[in-house]
């Protein structure tokens, strides 16, 4: 019993299964091609293999942790359920009208993101609640029978209910939801007061509709997965990773699947946080770069930062504003259209661009020889000697180097540069795009990038980490083992975590403290119940109270970590102080003489999982690490220089080296510039210290 923990990560292309053997400290991994039609199929294939190959008894699996991009992809591809929306009378168009802004100033035909529910499936209920929560007009429950009939005729399987000011008073939404459930027992129902109880009707509707849109899919998929795991006699509880990086049980996700949209990237961030903890790092910049996107996440202290809003399914080149706003707790990360497949080209001004258009896996980079003709970041990385043609992707792909050079030369001649210069330009530019985005993000948090250590994961992360770090003024990079499957490993490290939020509007000086305390306790009780339902010890759970606070009159709130309760009138000063500290950290100075108010309260419960033993590869002989040499481009060296190629698996703890070098392992390649010192840490991670003069 309790010997194994299993992580399952379904990505767009691959489904990864990782099994952690606590007794022997082994990591067993399997990959299968994702099966979009029936995603559980790939999972079970991989699970069956890993169980069979290593003769593992299913009952020895103590828990199964799962992350997936299925729901995000359903939003992006508009492949969710046939969904309807029920709003307050007069407001069914809020979802389509949105915030009335353009994300592109100069494109006359730019469209708002297309709503997931078309107008003919948006219905209205007679009811009205005012801004103070009072009932202006009672709900007409009888009239809902007509709506139900229309839903039945339109073959709708999921319904979102979004009434005005329901974040203050949810009684009408609840009554309407109950009535609709009576009328249509098979209908999946999502209420905005349940999914995203926050002010601003468009954003709340967008979130609730996104939830409704994936709810039937989530229900069917999770039921199928649970059933088939059961058939394998894997009886351990199936836990799911939320976008916030916490774990929850199937019931919670069936209720609110929108919380799982960013579960894959969250798992990657958790892996980086764990590496940071092991290495004793206070400030980690997690950097995960794959084929089409790169993700960056700041980790200050032990855990990734949490955000309470993001945009799903951005339609236009990842442009801010072109996606669907979703108000959920999510690991705060930025996603950039920069990956190995990003296409390089010259724009109308003759300036070089890289991405965000991607060649994807089909046709892929020119070097893959699968019909790609546009040079990509990966092609540039081959031309610069960072990637080796032999044995690329475990030998699965026969690399077409002449084609790759040809495509880059063509681009170079258009730009009036030589091939080497253009290849470096592509590499440098994609790094700059990522670094620029990181800088804006770090600055928003009021931090200095130079205080961070970069943790590089994903297929392309370690290739680009070194020169991106230089742009950010970062002095140290950590590259873990199995960098290519870091997300799946991250699943095994997550604490059970539940976030709950409720509206609570009051100026701090006018707060009814017992009312506030009651509201917090209500949230805590609800969150504890979820933890208990995962089979974990709710008594061990750590409670963090938070509040969305602002200066009276400001339009945006800051989410502030609050001191522990219970609260009384005497708590006022400590809450005020917590706010002042957070505000100054973000924006340098508080405005003078303005009172402070609470807009919403939040509770975060975390229950730690038992930590597994680290599987340290027992390094062999360092002398064997250098497996060859090839010409590699380093701008500090003025061009291509003959460079040592090191075999990661042959590097032992404590071994130290000096760059330039390229360190290769099966899933990834770490590029290290001249003068950088690097070594294998006690935890088995590759640590790179950039030379002092690098900027």
């Amino acid at each position: 019993m309790n010997r194994y923990a299993m992580g399952i990560d379904i990505g767009g292309t691959f489904t990864d299964v990782v099994l952690y053997d606590r007794e022997q400290g082994r990591r067993l991994t399997r990959k299968a091609l994702t099966t979009p039609g029936d995603p559980a199929e790939a999972v079970l294939d991989a699970v069956d293999q890993v169980l069979a190959d290593d003769a593992i008894a299913p009952e020895e699996i103590e828990r199964v942790v799962h992350a997936t991009t299925l729901f995000t992809n359903a939003l992006i591809e508009h492949k969710g359920a046939r969904t309807a929306l029920l709003t307050t009378e007069g407001f069914r168009d809020s979802l389509e009208i949105g915030r009335e802004r353009k994300y592109d100033l100069y494109d006359l035909a730019a469209k708002k993101p297309q709503p997931l529910v078309p107008r003919d499936l948006r219905f209205e209920a007679v009811e009205r609640i005012l801004a103070d929560g009072s009932i202006h007009r009672a709900l007409d429950g009888e009239a809902l029978a007509e709506v139900a009939e229309a839903l039945r005729q339109a073959d709708v399987s999921s319904l979102a209910i979004v009434f005005l000011h329901s974040y203050r008073n949810d009684s009408h939404e609840r009554a309407a939801g109950a009535r609709m459930a009576e009328l249509l027992p098979d209908l999946a129902i999502s209420m905005s007061s349940d999914v995203a109880p926050e002010i601003r009707e468009f954003e709340r509707a967008s979130t609730t509709v996104a939830n409704a849109y994936v709810k039937p899919l989530a229900r069917d998929y999770l039921d199928a997965l649970g059933e088939r795991l059961g058939q394998r006699e894997i009886t351990a509880p199936l836990l799911l990773m939320l976008s916030s990086g916490g774990l929850t049980h199937v019931g919670e996700v069936r209720r609110s699947p929108v919380q799982m949209l960013e579960s894959g990237p969250a798992a990657g961030a958790l892996a980086a946080a764990d590496i940071g903890r092991a290495e004793g790092l206070d400030h980690v910049l997690a950097f995960d770069m794959g084929g089409t996107t790169a993700k960056l996440c700041l980790i200050d202290g032990e855990e990734p930062a949490i955000a309470y809003r993001f945009e799903a399914a951005r339609e236009r080149r990842f442009a801010e504003g072109s996606g669907l706003p979703v108000r959920i707790s999510t690991v705060e990360l930025i996603e950039i259209g920069a990956g190995g497949g990003s296409i390089a080209r010259l724009d109308a001004l003759g300036l070089l661009k890289a991405g965000p258009d991607s060649a994807g896996s089909v046709p892929g980079p020119v070097a893959y020889g699968r019909g790609g003709i546009a040079p990509t970041v990966t092609d540039a990385d081959f031309a610069l000697g960072y990637l080796a043609a032999e044995g690329f992707a475990g030998g699965a792909i026969e690399v077409d180097l002449p084609g790759c050079h040809g495509a880059l030369e063509k681009l170079a001649s258009q730009a009036g540069l030589d091939e080497e210069k253009i290849a470096w330009g592509v590499h440098d530019l994609v790094n700059e795009n990522m670094a620029s985005a990181a800088l804006v993000h770090i600055a928003e948090k009021g931090r200095d990038p130079r205080a961070y250590t970069l943790v590089a994961t994903g297929g392309a992360g370690p290739v680009h980490a070194y020169y991106m770090a230089r742009k950010l003024g970062i002095k140290r990079i950590v590259c873990p083992r199995n960098a290519g499957v870091a997300s799946a490993l991250g699943l095994l490290l997550a604490p059970a975590r539940v976030d709950r939020t409720a509206a609570f509007a009051a100026a701090l000086d006018e707060t009814d403290w017992s009312e506030l305390e009651d509201a917090f306790q209500e949230l805590e009780a609800a969150a504890r119940q979820v933890i208990a339902d995962t089979g974990m010890d709710a008594g061990q759970a750590k409670v963090q109270r938070l509040a969305d606070m602002r200066n009276v009159g400001q339009g945006f709130e800051l989410v502030v970590n609050l001191p522990d309760g219970p609260y009384t009138a005497a708590s006022r000063d400590s809450l005020l102080q917590a706010y002042a500290q957070a505000y100054q950290a973000h924006f340098t100075r508080l405005p003078p003489n303005v009172p402070t108010a609470i807009a919403a309260i939040r509770v975060r419960l975390t229950a730690p999982v038992e930590k597994s033993a680290e599987d340290l590869s027992k390094g062999s002989v360092s002398a064997a690490a250098e497996k060859g040499q090839r010409p590699v481009y380093f701008p500090e060296a003025g061009g291509m220089v003959t460079t040592a190629i090191l075999d990661r698996s042959a590097m032992a703890i404590g071994d130290s080296f000096v760059g330039p070098a390229v360190v290769e392992e099966a899933e990834s390649t770490m590029v290290i510039g001249p003068g950088a010192k690097f070594h294998i840490s006690d935890n088995g991670n590759l640590i790179i210290d950039l030379p002092e003069d690098a900027s």
Binding site: G90, F91, E100, L164, I199, L352, N433, V594
Partner: protein, 538 residues
């Protein structure tokens, strides 16, 4: 430093855009009025040492982008390079030096590298209140429109001018919000300075002179290339708009001359200046002219001053598009927003695939002031938007800000910040002009006062009598309407709402493009199914 090749330029350009984007986020997060933090009524730019635009924030307002570099140049004219020192902050809301009305403060900060002036950070933002009559169209002279700040150093070498801030606080209804928003702008300017200095250090740049010459040179060349592809000629367009009274519409006239690689706008023939605050200072006219040309000819290239060099604009003095002091100008957008439509109308003949039918703009606005039950005065601004015009190949988007880029305030936020009850806010079926491509729909709002004390309201409303014209055979959009308690209201006058009074605001639809006969059957069916078009009305 490294040579300014294609790669280095792009990298540095991105970095400069990132700096102003970051400043914009700081304004959203730290400002006090919904104008900045919900409606996006501000912009942040970086210029070179001569006031030539280098970068603007990505979501900015087209008018401000055009006016801010000019404000920097006015700052240079006023103080001279030698009259500026590190730590100075210059502020103005002079309509002719700033953005065209008193409600926006433009704030300029010189950026020094050591002792050398190398650039300027500049921001413009709409104040929640600037004193005077509540943004009333009835003002006849600028003196009625509020507190007028000439180009003034409000920080000298890092030291704030307390006299200025005390004066400001005394002149406005919302001293905390107005002062707070100015501080939010100053924070943004500091931030741009910090990021630019980091960048120059990183790339070993002593100044931005070569960089600016190269970047602005490239965009200028690109714009000249684009103009060269437009057939030379003189293109005229004339349009009637609502005017102050039904019997006296305004005339907007444009003669657009394309010659080789230059474009010249001449607004001769436009109606004279009016004793109402709908006059549009020339700086705003110019900004809107440049914006139209960029949309039509070079939408994909990041904007800077080089782009504007081939474009010249003239408008006779003392017309609607070039009023002189002391004309009142508070609602200048109600006039200036017609300018891009004139440009498209003129170019439609030669660039049918690059222009748009008229939009249901200018911007609509409802400004209110009243007293809360607790005795505190408040002022609030709500923006409303009509439909976009159709283009060749695409229906117009519904209810979206153009040629500005302002967000609506959410109904829930509006009801929380003012004693109002919205009965509905919905799309207006049939308001989009017919055509092969349909105009975008306007929106309808019915808003009731819940206030025990009277609320003063004024409006900005256009195209209530003269619809947004279609193009190439497309139909006109539906006109807009303002009603109080079911009766058409004079939208140029201030009104007082008693508890229970109801305002109807219906924004205009955009014009259609191409003959309705040519409309695709599937689009017709979809419009009927979604109720964008109601069959029984047509």
């Amino acid at each position: 430093m490294t040579a300014l090749d294609a790669v280095t330029l792009e990298v540095i350009w991105n970095r400069m855009i990132a700096s102003v984007d970051e400043a914009a986020k700081a304004i959203v997060r730290t400002s006090f009025s919904t104008l900045s933090n919900e409606a996006n009524d501000f912009a942040c730019v970086l210029t070179d040492v001569d006031g030539q635009l280098l970068a603007q924030n990505s979501g900015s307002i087209p008018s401000f982008i055009g006016t801010l570099p000019a404000t920097v140049r006015h700052t240079l004219d006023r103080f001279g390079r030698d009259g500026l020192e590190p730590g100075d902050v210059i502020c103005t809301n002079d309509p002719w030096l700033g953005t065209g009305h008193l409600n926006d403060c433009s704030i300029v900060r010189p950026i020094f590298r050591g002792d050398e002036l190398i650039a300027f950070a500049a921001t413009a933002s709409h104040m929640p209140d600037i004193g005077g009559r509540i943004r009333s169209v009835e003002a006849r002279e600028i003196f009625e429109e509020g507190f007028h700040i000439p180009l003034l150093k409000i920080f000298r070498a890092g030291v704030p001018d307390e006299t200025f801030f005390e004066l400001l606080r005394t002149q406005v209804r919302t001293p905390d919000q107005t002062e707070g928003d100015i501080h939010a702008q100053i924070t943004a300017n500091y931030l741009i300075e910090d990021r630019v200095l980091t960048m120059t250090a990183e790339y070993g740049l002593d100044d931005l002179v070569d960089l600016s010459r190269e970047l602005n040179g490239r965009t200028e060349a690109a714009m000249r290339d684009a103009i060269r592809k437009v057939p030379d000629g003189v293109y005229d367009y004339k349009m009637l708009t609502d005017g102050l009274r039904a019997e006296a519409p305004f005339t907007f006239a444009l003669r657009l001359t394309v010659k080789d690689d230059t474009i010249h706008f001449d607004f001769d023939g436009t109606s004279p200046v009016q004793p109402r605050s709908i006059n549009c200072p020339f700086c705003y006219t110019y900004a809107m002219s440049a914006y139209a040309i960029k949309c039509a000819l070079l939408p994909d290239v990041p904007n800077n001053s080089g782009m504007l060099r081939p474009i010249t604009v003239t408008a006779p003095e003392n017309t609607l598009l070039n009023p002189l002091p002391p004309a009142s100008v508070g609602a200048r957008a109600s006039t200036g927003h017609y300018v891009p439509i004139l440009a498209f109308g003129a170019l439609a003949e030669v660039l049918p695939d690059r222009v748009m039918a008229a939009a249901g703009s200018p911007l609509w606005n409802c400004t209110q002031s009243g007293v809360r039950p607790n005795g505190q005065p408040y002022a609030t601004n709500l923006f409303f938007n009509g439909g976009m015009g159709a283009t060749l190949g695409s229906d117009g988007e519904s209810a979206i800000s153009w040629p500005s880029n302002l967000s609506c305030t959410p109904v829930e936020v509006a009801e929380q910040t003012a004693p109002l009850l919205f009965h509905y806010k919905r799309l207006r079926p049939n308001s989009g002009g017919e055509g092969q491509y349909r105009g975008g729909l306007g929106e309808d709002m019915l808003v009731e006062s819940l206030s025990e004390s009277p609320i003063a309201v004024t409006f900005m409303a256009e195209r209530t009598r003269h619809a947004a014209p279609g193009l190439a055979g497309g139909g006109d959009g539906e006109v807009g309407a303002v009603e109080i308690n079911g009766v058409e209201a004079d939208n140029r006058a201030q009104h007082h709402l008693e508890r229970g009074d109801r305002i109807l605001i219906a924004t205009p639809g955009g014009g259609g493009y191409g003959s309705p006969e040519a409309r695709d059957e599937a689009r017709i069916a979809e419009d009927l199914r979604q109720g964008y078009v109601r069959g029984d009305d047509r």
